[in-house]
């Protein structure tokens, strides 16, 4: 697992207070990890801060799973 994936996972565990084993790539923040809409906003802001990237609103809306977040950040970091 990449460094980015590890960090994303850690942030999700911290913010949502869920067990690490549940944070699989396919896990949906809302459907599987019990997040509400405010949690997802907080997660996106935490990603922005941790990875020093800006995630615009339209991109943020599409980040619904752990994998979505990892893919988006990896793409930003390569670019």
């Amino acid at each position: 697992m990449s460094e980015i994936a590890d960090k994303v996972k850690k942030i999700v565990v911290e913010h949502l207070g869920v067990e690490e084993s549940k944070v699989t790539p396919e896990a949906s923040f809302i459907d599987d990890l019990g997040a509400d809409s405010l949690d997802t906003v907080e997660l996106v802001m935490a990603f922005e801060e941790a990875f020093n990237v800006e995630i615009p609103e339209d991109a943020a809306e599409k980040i619904t799973t752990v994998k979505d977040a990892i893919d988006y950040i990896e793409k930003q970091k390569v670019a």
């Binding site: 509400d36 405010l38 907080e42 802001m45």
Partner: protein
């Protein structure tokens, strides 16, 4: 009841009559209080008077968007603690009949009285969300509900503040954060002191409780909404106006 020991509060517009009363009562109830205002020497004097190692100063000119954004971080830095309570009290007026009102008069009032409180709420909420607790009290005005000739800008800003507060209250309620409004009526100020007797009588005649409000009347309402005791009240507007408008 209404103790605020261990809590940290930021009060904007703390150099004015109402603002200094609010800062004073929060401090008296045990809070660490950061006083903000444009006149640094005045708020420094007030902070010195409050003392007890629990009064701090963070000067800011809220007509500058960047200053509003930076104020929360600065306040937390000087107080050495995250904000539990935000009181948006700073405001200004540029009164004139609408036909004579310049864009500048409009924009300046909307910037300081509405946009700056929004920015301060946004910046403060970030930490409050993480800590799952917080109190925001926004100071509006009776004018928000009644309107007032010559104050189209001020009425719009203060009515906007009420709508904003209700929206924020819905957004953050699930995290135990409350957002409420205190709407003062006519409060004793140097301006009301200078009113001619006839006008003064007329004004008093429109207030069922028969007197003008004191800054402490407003401050008590703020204290209540900032306290743990008000934990089931959010999105509300508490009118403190001697009965002048029963809404």
């Amino acid at each position: 009841m209404f103790r605020l020991d261990g809590k940290t509060a930021l009060v904007t517009g703390a150099s004015g009559g109402i603002g200094s009363a609010i800062a004073g009562i929060l401090h008296a109830q045990g809070a660490r209080v950061v006083l903000s205002g444009t006149r640094e020497s005045v708020i420094q004097q007030q902070a010195d008077k409050l003392g007890k190692g629990r009064a701090f100063v963070a000067a800011a000119n809220l007509s500058d968007a960047g200053a509003a954004d930076a104020l929360v971080a600065r306040a937390e830095e000087v107080a050495g603690a995250p904000l539990d309570i935000l009181v948006n009290n700073a405001g200004l007026t540029r009164d004139t009949l609408a036909l004579r009102m310049k864009d500048e008069d409009w924009n300046q009032v909307l910037d300081v009285d509405l946009a700056a409180p929004f920015r301060l709420c946004r910046a403060t909420l970030k930490g409050m969300l993480r800590r799952r607790a917080g109190r925001i009290v926004n100071i509006a005005s009776i004018i928000a509900a009644t309107g007032n000739a010559g104050q189209a800008n001020y009425a719009a800003a203060k009515a906007g503040m009420i709508g904003m507060s209700k929206s924020l209250a819905q957004e953050v309620g699930s995290r135990g954060i409350t957002v409420n409004v205190v709407a003062p009526g006519f409060i004793v100020t140097p301006m009301t002191d200078a009113l001619p007797d006839a006008q003064r009588e007329k004004l008093l005649g429109s207030i069922p409780l028969g007197r003008l409000g004191l800054p402490s009347d407003v401050a008590s309402a703020v204290l209540y909404l900032a306290s743990d005791e008000a934990s089931w009240i959010t999105g509300s507007t508490l009118h403190v106006n001697g009965g002048m408008a029963m809404i």
